[in-house]
Amino acid sequence: MVVFSLLIINKAGGLVYSREFHAGLAKLSSNDLLILAGTFHGVHAITRSLVPDAVRPVQPSTSISASTSTSGVNSTSAPAFPVRPSGLEVLESSHFRLTCFQTLTGTKFLLLTEPAQPNVDVVLKKIYELYADYVMKNPFYTVEMPIRCQKFDTGLDAFVRVRG
């Protein structure tokens, strides 16, 4: 198993974390990585708006009004969570595969792996757990800012390198 690198993009499109585990992809300067993160953020938004009409998720506001049309006051006072198109999840290229996991709050985890890497979503879920434990629970961490948490680094190393 080869995991090339991990990028974390905050909900505004800024790069807050980048880590290389294996060499193999081009070495990018931190400036290039920032551009890449911003570009990906924009493309992700475009791919969400390109959903074909046949598979476009039905918005809960219309489905609620259709199913519970009599209790109109209740349905407006308790809005359901909107179903949104997911946006780019897996990007395949001849040298690598990029898997994107977006949390409900808009943070994106990008994992660059080999093209034939199995079970990437499991790895991403585990990384999300590490992020929740060591970054979000860190009292000195400011949200949406670059991540500098040593425990997160060591946790990632232990998890990704051991599996490798």
Binding site: G42, V43, T47, R48, P52, D53, P85
Partner: protein, 166 residues
């Protein structure tokens, strides 16, 4: 496998052919009245009501913007010889093939299909080259899509999607 749409972009970034298929008529009555497919050159009807302010031309431009950026991103990360193949979202999958002359072939399908790079290559070699490039009446540059949407090409594409990609 379900094919939703197919686009060709020329090397001047212009969409010279686009086609949509509506595989299963949606249950809602508003969608049922929509035409089966259309070509960008003669699309005069208004966009479907639920797409606020987005016409088909806008869709083609958005797709071009997305694949252009992703192509650059992939080349920057993996080197010059790294090709962008496809991407998948929760709802659809977009396949990409670029010819040596920088023509870009894009197909949007459901998420369960395998990589269609070979199929797009076949469309280019067996349909586009045969019926568009070799057509003596067709211009060299297809500005505005002139010369691409001829009868033989459309029939061939229809048959290809119906048989090979069914």
């Amino acid at each position: 496998m379900v094919v939703y749409s197919f686009y060709i972009f020329d090397r001047h970034t212009e969409c010279i052919y686009s086609r949509r298929w509506n595989p299963r008529p949606a249950s809602s009555s508003s969608k049922a009245s929509r035409p089966q497919s259309d070509i960008i050159a003669n699309s005069g009807e208004p966009a479907p009501p639920q797409r606020k302010g987005l016409s088909r031309e806008d869709d083609a431009k958005l797709i071009f913007g997305a694949i252009f950026s992703l192509r650059k991103l992939v080349q920057r990360l993996g080197g010059e010889d790294n090709h962008f193949l496809s991407y998948r979202t929760g709802e659809y999958k977009l396949h990409y093939y670029e010819t040596p002359t920088r023509m870009k072939f894009v197909m949007v399908t459901d998420t369960k299909s395998n990589n269609l790079r070979v199929a797009l290559h076949q469309i280019w070699a067996n349909l586009y080259v045969e019926y568009v490039v070799k057509n003596p009446l067709s211009p060299i540059e297809h500005a505005g899509g002139v010369g691409v949407a001829n009868e033989l090409f459309e029939q061939g594409l229809e048959r290809f999607v119906a048989t090979v990609l069914a």
